[in-house]
Amino acid sequence: MKRAFSLAFAALLLSSGLAEAGTFAVSFDAGLRAMSNSPETEKAIFGEKRGTGAGLGVSYDRNSRWRFAVDFRRVSREGQRAFAIDRNSEAFQLGHPLKFNLTEGVASASFLIGQIGPISPYLTLGVGRASWKEESNIAGLIEKSDGSATLFEARLGIERQQGPIRLGIEGGLTMIPNSVGVGGISKVYEETDIGGLFVVMKIGFAKR
C-alpha cells in the first residue's frame, strides 16, 4: 500500500513540475457509505443502520481536463453479531456489539467533462488499498478480526468553484473483492466484497 501511494505521489509531483497551469487542492469529504456489494451481510450485521465515512485528499489539476488525486477515508459502522443457517435464511442478531472500521487509500484520475453553467461534472477512476478491522464485545471478551485488499473505485461528481473554494457532491461504487467471506456471516452468505455504493459531500481549497 505504501509503495502504491509513494508512486502516486511521485507521479503527482512530477506532473506538477512539468505543468505550467496546474492547480493544487486539498479536499475533505463526508457522507454515506453502504456495503452494498455484500447486501445480506450488511443487513445481518448492521440492520438498518447506515455507514458514515469521512476523508481527506490532495489533488492536482494538470489542465482543464485531467485531475490526479490521492484520497484517504475512514468508514465506521456499528452492528451486532448475528447468525443465519444459510444464504436463503433469515439472520438473527444476537445483541453482542460489533464495531467495524474500514480505511481506504485511493489514487485516482478524473476526467473533467466540461463546464455546464457554474457546474463542472467529472468522472473518476481509482485504485487503492482498503484495510478493515472488526471488533466484537461478547460479555466483556473482545474478538478481533482484520484484513486488507485492493480496491477499485468509479465516481461521478459535480462541483462548483467560487474563488479558491470548491463545493461538490460525488456518488460512486467501491469494489473490494476477496476482502471477506472466509468466515463469519459473510461466509454464510457467500459474499466477499465489503465495498459498495456511496454518496459524499466535498469541500476543497484550491491554489494555483
Binding site: 451481510t41 450485521i45 452492528g79 453479531r81 448475528a82 447468525f83 443465519a84 443457517i85 435464511s89 433469515e90 438473527f92 442478531q93 444476537l94 445483541g95 453482542h96 460489533l98 467495524f100 472488526e134 466484537s136 461478547i138 460479555a139 466483556g140 471478551l141 473482545i142 474478538e143 478480526s145 484484513g147 471477506v180 467471506g181 472466509v182 468466515g183 463469519g184 456471516i185 459473510s186 461466509k187 454464510v188 465489503i194
Partner: protein
C-alpha cells in the same frame, strides 16, 4: 429401574413410553459445610466495574539484550510517564504521558527495534461462578463450559422450557411439595395430560431431576446449579408415577404447550422430552410439527438401550436427538445412536468415578427420594446423581432456551448453531455415534461476526 426399562412396550394401538434415565441414588447432603458469599455483594462488585483504569495502560517487553536503563529511557522516549517492571522479566506496565492514549503509546513502542512486543493492557474479570454449595460436584457444567456461558447468557423468565415428563415438584398441593431449590425458579401454569387439570405434580422423581438440570435455582448459596437458571419452566405431566406414558398423552401435552398463551403470547420456546419409545406415531409427529411451526424447538433423549436407531420422538427429523457422553467425553455405554442422532451432552455414568471425587459420575441435581415416592411420600428431597440420555437432553434444551433469549427465533437456526459450534467427537464431522458432537454453549451464544 434398569436401563432396559427404557424400552417401549406396545399394547394394541397404545405405545407406552418410558422415562429415560437409569437411577442410582447415592444421596449427598444438601449443605456439606461450604460457606457461601452473599450473592448480592458479589453481583454489585461485578456491576461496579474495575476501580483502576487498566485499559489506559500499556504492556511492553524488551529484548534480552536491553538493560533496565535503556528500557526505561525507551519508555520515556515513546511517551510513557511511569513504568512498573515485572518481577519476572523485562516486562513493564506503562502509563502514558498526558496527551497520549494507550494505542498511541503502543504504536510508538512497537516502532522501536529494542521492543519485543507492546500491547494495550486489557481488563479481565472473574467469571460468573455460582455459589451453590454442590456446584463443584456438577462436573457436567464444567464439561460444557457453563461458567463462560453464564457470562454471556443466563436466561430470562420471558422464555420458558416445557418439561414433558413425570411432572415437577413445583407447588405445594395435596401430598406434593415444592422442591426447596426451586425457590427462585419461575413456573408457568402446568398441565397434567392424564387428569387434564393444571396440577402437573411429580410422583416419580424423574421430571423434577430433569427440570432441575434446566433451571434449578442458582447462586442462592445452597444446593446445585441449573444451566438456564433464569428461564421459566412449564411442568407438563405425560408420564405416570412409574415413568410410563403413551403417544396420545404426549401429543396432548405438546398441544397444550403449543396452544398456551400468557398476555397474548406463548413464552414457551423449547420442549424437552426425556422419554422415548420404538414406535413412530403420526399423532406425536403432527403435534411436533405444529410446535416447530410455532417457533418451538423440540429436544428429546436418544434412548438408553445402546441401540440404533434412536427412540421416537428423538428420531423425528425436526426433533433434536441427544445422546450421552461420560466425564471422559466417551459415548456412555447405554446411549443409543444412529443416523438421527444430532448432538451429545454429559449424561454421565454412575458406575465410574473418573474425576476421583469419591462420587459417581452422574448428573447431580435435586429431586426427591424415589423409593419413598413409591409409598406416596413426595417431600423427601435431596441431591441425586442420575445418569442417562434423560440427563443429557435437558442440557441441550436449556441451551436452546438461552439461544432463544439471545435472539434466535427459528428452531432450525437454533439447531444449526448448536451443531456448527459443537466439539467434534468420534469420526471427523457428523457420525452416528456422536452426531455433530458435544454442545459448546459459549461458542453457540457468540454467534458470527462479519468475517469471523
Amino acid at each position: 429401574m434398569s436401563w432396559a426399562a427404557g424400552a417401549a412396550l406396545v399394547t394394541g394401538a397404545w405405545m407406552l413410553i418410558s422415562a429415560e434415565g437409569p437411577l442410582a441414588v447415592p444421596q449427598v447432603a444438601a449443605d456439606d459445610g461450604i460457606r457461601a458469599l452473599d450473592p448480592a455483594v458479589q453481583e454489585e462488585r461485578i456491576a461496579r466495574g474495575p476501580r483502576v483504569d487498566y485499559e489506559s495502560r500499556v504492556i511492553v517487553a524488551f529484548h534480552d539484550s536491553v538493560d533496565d536503563r535503556q528500557a526505561e529511557q525507551s519508555i520515556r522516549d515513546a511517551g510513557g510517564a511511569r513504568g512498573s517492571r515485572s518481577a519476572f522479566g523485562r516486562r513493564y506496565v506503562v502509563e502514558p504521558m498526558s496527551g497520549i492514549d494507550a494505542l498511541g503509546l503502543t504504536r510508538r513502542l512497537l516502532a522501536m527495534p529494542e521492543v519485543d512486543y507492546a500491547e494495550p493492557d486489557g481488563v479481565v474479570r472473574a467469571h460468573f461462578l455460582p455459589n451453590d454449595s454442590l456446584f463443584n460436584l456438577q462436573w457436567h457444567l464444567k464439561t460444557i463450559g457453563a461458567e463462560r456461558m453464564w457470562d454471556i447468557q443466563r436466561g430470562d423468565p420471558s422464555v420458558a422450557v416445557a418439561v414433558l415428563d413425570t411432572g415437577i415438584a413445583y407447588e405445594d398441593f395435596g401430598p406434593y411439595r415444592k422442591a426447596p431449590d426451586f425457590g427462585g425458579t419461575v413456573f408457568l401454569p402446568g398441565f397434567n395430560a392424564f387428569t387434564r387439570d393444571s396440577h402437573a405434580n411429580d410422583d416419580n422423581f424423574h421430571g423434577t431431576h430433569v427440570a432441575s438440570i434446566i433451571a434449578e435455582a442458582t447462586h442462592n448459596g445452597t444446593g446445585a446449579s441449573g444451566i438456564a437458571h433464569l428461564t421459566a419452566l412449564m411442568p407438563v405431566k405425560v408420564l405416570d408415577k412409574d415413568g410410563f406414558g403413551s403417544n396420545s398423552v404426549i401429543a396432548e401435552g405438546i398441544d397444550y404447550v403449543v396452544n398456551f398463551r400468557q398476555n397474548g403470547v406463548n413464552p414457551v420456546k423449547v420442549i424437552n422430552m426425556s422419554l422415548g419409545g420404538s414406535t413412530r406415531s403420526q399423532a406425536v409427529q403432527s403435534a411436533i410439527d405444529r410446535a416447530v411451526a410455532a417457533g418451538i424447538t423440540v429436544v428429546a433423549s436418544a434412548g438408553n438401550d445402546n441401540v440404533s436407531p434412536v427412540d421416537f420422538p428423538a428420531a423425528f427429523g425436526n426433533v433434536i436427538a441427544v445422546g450421552s457422553i461420560d466425564l471422559r467425553k466417551v459415548k456412555a455405554p447405554y446411549s443409543s445412536f444412529g443416523a438421527d442422532l444430532d448432538l451429545m451432552a454429559p449424561g454421565g455414568d454412575n458406575r465410574r468415578d473418573d474425576n476421583a471425587d469419591g462420587r459417581p459420575d452422574g448428573v447431580l441435581q435435586q429431586t426427591f427420594d424415589p423409593d419413598l415416592a413409591e409409598r406416596g411420600r413426595y417431600d423427601a428431597f435431596g441431591y441425586y446423581f442420575v445418569t442417562g440420555t434423560s440427563q443429557a437432553a435437558p442440557q441441550v434444551a436449556a441451551l436452546a432456551a438461552l439461544l432463544a433469549r439471545q435472539g434466535i427465533k427459528d428452531p432450525r437456526a437454533i439447531q444449526a448453531i448448536m451443531e456448527r459450534t459443537a466439539e467434534d467427537l468420534g469420526a471427523a464431522g457428523r457420525d452416528d455415534r456422536f452426531g455433530w458432537g458435544l454442545i459448546r454453549p459459549a461458542e453457540a451464544l457468540k454467534g458470527l461476526g462479519l468475517n469471523k
